[in-house]
Structures are given as C-alpha cells and as structure tokens.
C-alpha cells in the first residue's frame, strides 16, 4: 500500500487489485442480484476510482473496507441513473412469492432473503457473507452503527422465523 502511494507503483497496485478484486466483484454481484456484466463494469469503475483517489486513503479503515465502500458508492450512484433497470432496485422481487414449502434449504434461504427489506439484505451481505464487523459495515454503507446492528438482528430474526415456518410446513406435508 505504502509503495503504491509513495512511488506511484502500478505493479504494487496490480497486486492489491489481484488480492481484492474477487470479493469486490462478489459484493457487487450480490448487490446487483446476479447481473455479472454490470457488476464487473462497476467493479472496474471502483478500481479506477481507487487508483485516482489513492492519496485520499487515510488508513482509518482497512484497504479492503475502503474499496468496498467505493464499490457500494458506485453501486448507489449507478442506481440513481434513469437508465437503471427496475428489477435491480432492491427490496422486494418476484421471488417473494416463491413457494414457502420448498424443501431445498439453499432455495429456502434464498427465498427468505428476498423477503427481507433491502437494508436488511445489504447489511447481512456485508456483516455475514463478506465477513465484515458491524463497524466496518457501518463505514462501507455510511450507515450509523446502531442502525447496522438493528438491521442485522432484525434480518436474522426474520430469516430464522421464515425458515422455521417453512420447515414446519415441509414436515407436515411429509407426514400427511
């Protein structure tokens, strides 16, 4: 990191790029609900922006967290554009009506995730799936720490309730 900042070293930046591109692209793919092409465009924008703004990195967060924050900001800015497709707007989707008695647990958790609010989904993506702490998530999403904790707790509680309901329904259908 210091080499990149001090010597304007492209090779050192490339090492950082190779180390962090995977998770930044994964974050954007989840935020864009699987639109890989658009996610990669935004990831590219993220790294070009990071290269230009490297001198503004103050070290108050981990470099990866700083990158995730840029990526999330790029995502929000792209979402504000009029050309943004409606099915990427976050929140509820068509999958909300997915059959609640689906037996496959992976399908269940995916359907349950779709029933959460956009904020709860985003917080759980960062806190649980990307493995960030609450304070890192708060930094990335520019959201108060208390709000992050609330969304995380509510999201997990809803998921637990939904999964329990569906498992009960599944068991009853199996026995009948």
């Amino acid at each position: 990191m210091a080499r990149v900042l001090l010597a304007d070293d492209r090779r050192a930046f490339e090492q950082l790029l190779r180390r962090y591109q995977g998770l930044v692209r994964a974050q954007l793919r989840r935020l864009l609900k699987g639109d890989h092409a658009r996610a990669d465009d935004l990831a590219q924008e993220t790294f070009l922006l990071a290269w230009r703004k490297l001198d503004q990195f103050r070290g108050d967060a981990r470099f990866s967290t700083w990158l995730h924050r840029i990526a999330y900001t790029c995502f929000l800015q792209a979402r504000r554009k009029p050309s943004w497709p409606l099915d990427h707007c976050g929140g509820e989707t068509g999958e909300q009506t997915a059959a609640p008695h689906a037996m496959d647990l992976h399908l269940d958790i995916e359907s349950a995730m779709q029933r959460l609010s956009a904020a709860e989904q985003t917080v759980l993506l960062h806190c649980v799936q990307l493995g960030m702490s609450h304070s890192e998530t708060s930094y990335v999403l520019a959201m108060p720490l208390g709000t992050v904790k609330t969304h995380a707790a509510q999201g997990k509680a809803k998921l637990r309730a939904l999964l329990a309901d569906w498992q009960d329904t599944g068991r009853k259908e199996q026995t009948s």
């Binding site: 492209r10 922006l49 230009r52 759980l124």
Partner: protein, 113 residues
C-alpha cells in the same frame, strides 16, 4: 434469538455465498485502462501565494492610509489607519477561513471516498 440459532442462520448465509469471484482476465483489463496518475505539486500554490502577497504589498505601499497604518502598527500606536488595516486583514483572514471550511465540507460530503 439464541446465539446458537443466530450461528445457524449465519452458517446458512455463508454457505449460500459464492465467495470471491475468479479473476478471468478482469485484472488485466483494469490494468490496461489504468490512467497515469497526476501528482499533486505544492510548489505552484506556494509560488502563487508568495507572488500575490508581494504584488499586493508593492501596489499598496504607495497608498498613504496603508503606509501610515503600517508605521503606527509597528510603533504600537493603534491609530485609525492602523485599526483600519487590522480590520481589513482580519476580514480577509475570516473570508479565507470560511472558504477553506466550505471547501473541506464539500470534499467530506462527496459520497465517493
């Protein structure tokens, strides 16, 4: 929610996550598009400030109010010209301070880090 149930939900979510995306030429693509980074030099600002201050001083030196005010100030006499000079300098400093704070605030409120 108990800690164990919480862990179970988290484990399910983590299992559902695909993990880091493989490179597949992404990095090469980014590196090809990487522009030359402009280095920020401080010297043009310093030279500009110095030149501006010198030109200002030279052009105001012939103004009697400034000359008398400056002389009185140096001798510790707070006459009307000295106070005028002091007030003008304080006003300019305050304006510069307000401008700096506004610029810093704009930079902080920029959503991109």
């Amino acid at each position: 929610m108990s800690e164990r149930e919480d862990d179970a939900v988290e484990a399910l979510l983590r299992a559902r996550f695909e993990g880091p995306v493989p490179d597949e030429g992404f990095c090469d693509d980014v590196m090809h598009r990487l522009p030359l980074r402009r280095r920020r030099h401080v010297w043009p600002l310093a030279v500009g400030l110095g030149t501006g201050a010198a030109v200002c001083w030279l052009s105001l030196q012939s103004v009697p109010l400034v000359r008398v005010g400056w002389r009185d100030w140096l001798s510790g006499e707070f006459s009307a010209p000295a106070l005028t000079l002091l007030l003008v300098m304080a006003g300019i400093s305050l304006l510069t301070l307000a401008w700096t704070i506004a610029e810093a605030d704009d930079r902080r409120s920029d959503p991109r880090p």
